[in-house]
Structures are given as structure tokens and as C-alpha cells.
């Protein structure tokens, strides 16, 4: 795997909601090689504070050399990102990590919650392109409320997949958790892909493990480098050994991870 460091021009930075944005960057080398589930490390400031790069999943790539990032403002770094204007530049390293394993045949369910929708969209796009005649792909998306979800749906609706939605506040789709929408789907699929809040991923992972369905989860941890150098991004593997999310992941099979009790 080769990672690149690019000084990327901002093509666009627009808000979907008050705190969710889509950032479009010109990063030809990353765009050309990125796989769904991989991420980039973005330097959000040229100053010494905030110091460290921030990790973001690749939400989409364009054939004209652009990468798209779907992000939510949760702190200082993401706030700075949201103030970028077209013509500004940011330094980006990527693509990083392993990415999801594409199983184009068989039935699969893709589950994305919150900003976890980002890699799930890129995955859905690739899966849709690779889709075999007899396969059924199902997408389940969740968010706090409808205004976060609706602007993203048009793009998903172009795919030959069934889309179900859940919102915490019931303002759109099912009132409740994505995990509840998964239950009826699970018996009919051989593969689940999930990205979202850790608590959600854990429930999905456990349901899949119970029913013997392959499940790939994309983990989040604090990352100082994203390159495998700082050894800061540890989680406990199923065997009790530490694994590093940036290098061995961020995508892990559900049974590779020791989920907290």
C-alpha cells in the first residue's frame, strides 16, 4: 500500500446542516487509489495548535481527482475545517488503513450511523458497480434526525439497493436505532458492513456473531499519526493482543476485536 502526501486545494466546502459539512479536495493521487473504508489524515491548521492531523474516512472520490469528506463539527479541528473556502489548501495524507473487503456476490447489508455513513457510501458505490445479478444489497442508515440524513439520500437512491432509515428523534424513517432495522434483514444476508458510533457497532457486531454472519466494522480511536508510527491507536484484539487501528484497521472483522463488556 502506498500513501501519498498532497497539498490539496479546496474545491468546495458546504454545509448540509448546521454542523455537518461536505468538503471536496483536489487530491488526485489519493482519489486514484482509495478503497472504501480507507481514511485520510488532514492537517487542519498550519499553526502549532491544533497540532495533530485529524482522521476522516473517504466519503467519495471523483474521476477528476477529487476526494470528498463528510464531517461533523465536534471540536476545534472540525470547526476549523468547516471554515475552509474554495481556493484554500490543506495538507492531506492518504489513503490510509486497510478498507473493507468487497464481496460482490451474496446478499449484504451496509449499516451506517452518523458520520459512519461516510465510508458506507463509498462502499455502497463500489459494491453497486461490482454487483452480481442475483445479489441483494441492503443499506441501513441512521442519524440523530432527518435533516442530517435526507441530504445524503439522493446519492444512495441511485444505487440498486434497498435503503432503510432510522432517526433518534423519529423525524425521518424509523423512530429508533438502526440496529432494530437490522434484525429482519440479518437472516437473509451473508455479509454485514458497519460504521458508526462504537456502541452501535458493538450491537451490530454481536448480532452478527450470534447469527454467524460475517461482519466488518470500522473502528475509531485517537490517532496521533495514522501511519503506524506512534502506536497510540491501540485497541484490544480478540486474542488479548493489542492491534493498531490505523495500520491493522480501521476495518476489522467483528470477531477480531475484543468488545468491551
Amino acid at each position: 500500500m502506498t500513501e501519498f502526501q498532497e497539498n490539496s486545494k479546496v474545491i468546495d466546502c458546504r454545509s448540509l446542516t448546521r454542523d455537518v459539512y461536505i468538503l471536496t479536495l483536489s487530491s488526485p493521487q489519493i482519489a486514484q487509489t482509495a478503497l472504501p473504508g480507507q481514511f485520510v489524515m488532514i492537517r487542519v491548521s498550519d499553526m502549532d495548535d491544533p497540532l495533530l492531523r485529524r482522521p476522516f474516512s473517504i466519503y467519495d472520490v471523483s474521476t477528476s481527482g477529487e476526494i470528498l469528506i463528510l464531517f461533523k463539527i465536534v471540536g476545534r479541528g472540525t470547526r476549523l475545517l468547516s471554515t475552509l473556502d474554495p481556493g484554500d489548501s490543506v495538507n492531506v495524507i492518504g489513503p490510509l488503513g486497510n478498507g473493507y473487503t468487497l464481496h460482490p456476490s451474496g446478499n449484504a447489508c451496509l449499516v451506517g450511523g452518523g458520520m459512519g455513513i461516510a465510508p458506507i457510501y463509498f462502499l455502497a458505490k463500489k459494491m453497486n458497480m461490482a454487483k452480481r445479478e442475483k445479489s441483494n444489497f441492503h443499506v441501513i442508515l441512521g442519524a440523530r434526525s432527518g435533516d442530517e440524513l435526507v441530504p445524503l439520500l439522493d446519492a444512495f437512491n441511485k444505487f440498486d439497493m434497498q435503503i432503510d432509515c432510522a432517526t433518534d428523534d423519529g423525524s425521518f424513517g424509523h423512530h429508533g436505532f438502526v440496529t432494530q432495522l437490522l434484525d429482519p434483514v440479518l437472516p437473509n444476508v451473508s455479509q454485514v458492513y458497519v460504521c458508526g458510533p462504537t456502541a452501535m457497532m458493538q450491537i451490530v457486531a454481536e448480532k452478527c456473531l450470534e447469527q454467524n454472519v460475517c461482519c466488518e466494522t470500522s473502528l475509531e480511536t485517537h490517532m496521533a499519526c495514522g501511519l503506524g508510527a506512534c502506536l497510540g491507536c491501540t485497541v484490544s484484539g480478540a486474542d488479548g493482543q493489542y492491534v493498531h487501528v490505523c495500520k491493522h484497521g480501521p476495518v476489522f472483522k467483528a470477531d477480531e476485536i475484543k468488545w468491551e463488556k
Partner: protein, 294 residues
Amino acid sequence: MIVKDLDLNVKIGSLLLKNPVMTASGTFGYGEEFENLIDLNRIGAIIVKGISYEPRPGNPPPRVVETSSGMLNAIGLENVGVERFISEKLPYFDHVDSRLIVNILGDSRVDGIEVNISCPNVKKGGVAFGTIPAMAAAVTRAVKAETDQPVIVKLSPNVTDITEIACAVEDGGADSVSLINTLIGMAIDIKSKQPKLANIIGGLSGPAIKPVALRMVHQVSQRVKIPVIGIGGIATYEDAVEFLLAGASAIQVGTANFYQPKAVEYIIDGISRYLQEEKVQAVNDIIGKVQINR
């Protein structure tokens, strides 16, 4: 006027480096992690993550947290151990034209040894060695007795008088001292009310600590005769030059590698530019040349 044949060579004991810029232990993995992002052959010396005899799993997560212009880490010396280092990591360096400095003892391809007596993240041993002059000297002597390689002893800044430790280590036979390791720090998550690091405390590194590091390097370089290697918050060539002027014979880049993997290259190029502008031919001619008028 362009200065021809700039000479960036520096000597650390018997070890000749093609330039004074190294990567700091624990911040550059085992080198190979950076191969796509920087030309490893340009680096003066690569210091790999501290290696212990047995592999060590390190501390539980969370292990890193960002602070203002810095970061705290409590990695806890996670490493593959001597055996796997030699079989899996060392061969990679056969094709890298940079000095390799490790924390383990002896081996043909190893060019030097840095002895870390200052890690704040390991409970026993380390810390005490680093704060008591007699113990620091004893450790140095023990290592020297076991190897013919140049021995660099890495000092802790968490002491009242770092020059005292440096002198002890010099007496113990060290070929060089490197400083500083991290300052001990802490951070608390006010929502969960828990320390942000599972280990409670961790080591503070990055630009935040540069002024403290520079002061200590200056103090130590005025007290010892062996070469001093400056570490702490170095991210730009300007930072590096400050340390050279303060008395460092070479410098190490740590945390900056994480956010700017090309930092070492930029620093080497910047030092060359600086020498050109200052019309100085050899980097050795600026070492310790801070102008103090009183």
C-alpha cells in the same frame, strides 16, 4: 556568493553522521512506516522505537491525547522485542543509507545505541535511573562495558538540575547525551471525570516543550565535553538551528514526524539554506555559537 561544498557532517563520539538531523525514538516507528513519504536515505540517523529484551504490549488505551501545541503519550514502550526486531525490522535497513541507532545491545548493522533512562511511561526502573546521578552513571557504565558502539544516554527533563545527571553520565563513560525526553503531564476529561490517558500520566512532547528543551540543552552543553543531542519540539529548521546555536551537535525530530512526515527533509534543507545565508561552510561552525553578552 554561494558557499560551495556545504559540510553538514557531525560526529557523535566515533559515529559520523552525514547531517545532524535524526528521528527521535518512538516517533518514527521502525523507519519503514515513512518510506513512501520521505527519502529515508537523507536522514542523518534513524533512531527506532525503544527495544526491550522481551516484546512488550505497552499500556492500555487511550494512549495519546492532544494538548495545546503538544501531545501526551503513554505508549508504555510497546515493542516487538529484540528477537523480532532483528529478524523482522533490522533487515529493512540494509537498503537504507542512514545511520541506525537503537536501544538494544550490539549488532552488526547497528551504528549506535541510545540508552533511555528517562521514559515516564514505564513504572519501575527507568524513571529512577534518570533522576539520581549515581544510578544514571552506573547504568551508563554497565552499557559501556557491554558494547563497542557509541553510547548515547537519553536524559529526563523531570529533574531539578539536569546538568548534574549529564555530568554523572559523562563520568560514566557516555559518548553523548541526548535530551530531552518528555515532561510528565496529565489531562482529565471533564465529562467522564477520568484521566484522558488510561495510564493517568503521560509524556508531554511537541512544540509546547521546546523552550524548556532548549534551555536544558544550553545548560548541559556548557557543562559537558561530550556531544549533546537536542530533542524537544523541533519541527522546523529554525527550531533546529536554535538548538545547534544553543550547543547541540545534532538534533532529533519527534512529534513533528506525526503531523509532518517530511519534517526531517525540510529541516535538513533549511539548515543548508541557513548556512548559505549566514555564509558558513560547515554546520559545526554554528554549534554553540549563541551570542551571550554580559
